[in-house]
Amino acid sequence: MNGDTFKINVEHLDFHYGDFFALEDISVGIRQYATTAFIGPSGCGKSTFLRCLNRMNDLIPETKVEGKITLDGNDIYAPDVDTASLRRRVGMIFQAPNPFPMSIYDNVAYGPRIHGTTNKAQLDEIVEKSLTRAALWKEVSGKLNTSGLALSGGQQQRLCIARVIAVDPEVLLMDEPCSAIDPTSIQKIEDLMDELKSKYTIVIVTHNMQQAARVSDWTAFFLAEHADRPAKLIEYDKTDTMFTNPSDKRTEDYITGRFG
């Protein structure tokens, strides 16, 4: 692997939901200004892993995290870490688009407002810039005051991306962001990811191998070999290598199975 900077570093991560051991000994470095894809069969803990990176799992009772995760070298599970500011830096896009039941404008302005921006002109600027970056501005510029829920699924997902961009995060976690939307919007979101990469560090979970191959620079393959055993990181490499010449037989089986 080359010498790029690791934005996030995960060392020997174990994760438990109560008695259920979900992830075992995951170590992976996530590169800055690159897109890293996480692939693996359903239920192998990709979403769980993603939620460890911005501590969204803290919201689920009786979960336990062991090991170390650093962002820019700082332990994000250290006792003095403020989860709100962490999540502001590490934004998340969910599988199902979840705009708030408020206007398009208020959706995008939500983050800046809770972080203290009240100036109208400033908010206007952030809203326009974020919607433009999320490739949604042209479609909604004339109806910023209509409800975000009135948009199509694909537009809603781009609205959610704009909403995250508006708080100016450093990392974007995307959990199957395209699984619930139409092909045109998928195209738009993939183009968008390509563009956003220059400024953000992107981590995406996807079930679509072609998508992983198209959008990511690095790919990690997770697998739980038995239903009652925790998932492990099987292989992690440059996406090109993973898809053309994987070194682990299980990776190859999974990828080819999914292609064929």
Partner: protein
């Protein structure tokens, strides 16, 4: 054949049982309308009762009803919503939560005359608020509390989890999430619950009779007493003063409460 017959009989019986609900409502309404309509007029709504037969109008009792209900509404909202938010969003399920729920359910099953008696002993005498809109509103707010709390809690729980995650994911604190996302999203359902509770309060008799007093008075200040429409109705009918005006009052009251309920339905239909 007999199987089919049994089936048809069962359906008919169930249908009659269901239809009788509508029938009872229609019959009751028709009765109140027929008996009460002759008493209704513009002056009935705008004038004071006069003379031994309480002819004239019921204006002050309408004011007292609206006043005392409004006071109860203002008092119940912060407590009921605060408690509901705590239960739905903050409290980890445990002993304390169970105690609060049990208390709310018990409160809901207390007969209204007991609220009246309590209000009389505590607000009217012990705290010295006398017979007043304040005493009446306080007692009514106690009666409304479990109702509003429960409907508010359910409204909050019905808010999709995705909204909360969206807010947390942007770095929102718990309180920001509750105040800016969860409560606005739950607002239509909360409002529906509150309106229904206000309809109940406006129709309450025992509670207000003991706390707002029986004086025929159009209250202005919180410390003023006033006889509500329900108390007035009670006196008119039970003391044989004017059955006609009793039905006139009943018709107005039912009309008011029914429009409350229709408004609540409209609010409920508007959500989503």
């Amino acid at each position: 054949m007999s199987k089919r017959l049994a089936n048809n009989i069962a359906i008919s019986v169930l249908w009659v049982a269901a239809a009788s609900t509508v029938f009872v409502l229609a019959w009751l309404l028709a009765y109140v309308v027929v008996k009460g309509l002759p008493a209704l007029s513009w002056s009935f709504v705008t004038q004071w009762p006069t003379g031994v037969t309480a002819s004239g109008g019921i204006f002050p009792t309408i004011v007292a009803t609206v006043y005392v209900t409004a006071v109860g509404f203002v008092l119940v909202i912060p407590v009921a919503i605060g408690a509901a938010v705590y239960l739905a969003e903050y409290a980890a399920s445990g002993r304390f939560v169970n105690v609060i729920r049990f208390a709310a359910d018990s409160l809901a099953s207390v007969p209204s005359i007991v609220f009246g008696l309590f209000g009389l002993a505590f607000f009217v005498y012990a705290l010295g608020f006398k017979f007043s809109m304040l005493s009446g509103g306080l007692a009514l707010s106690l009666m409304m509390l479990p109702l509003v709390m429960r409907t508010t809690e359910e409204a909050i729980r019905a808010v999709p989890q995705g909204y909360r995650l969206g807010s947390y994911g942007l770095g929102g604190s718990k309180w920001q999430t509750v105040r800016r996302v969860v409560l606005p999203a739950a607002a239509p359902r909360i409002a529906t619950g509150i309106i229904l509770a206000m309809g109940r309060a406006a129709g309450e008799t025992a509670v207000v009779m003991f706390t707002a007093g029986m004086a025929i008075n159009a209250p202005i200040f919180l410390t003023d007493p006033g006889r509500t429409m329900t108390s007035h109705l009670y006196v008119l009918a039970m003391e044989g003063i004017s059955v006609k005006n009793a039905f006139g009052t009943a018709l107005l009251l039912v009309g008011m409460i029914l429009s409350f309920n229709l408004f609540a339905r409209w609010m409920a239909g508007r959500r989503g």
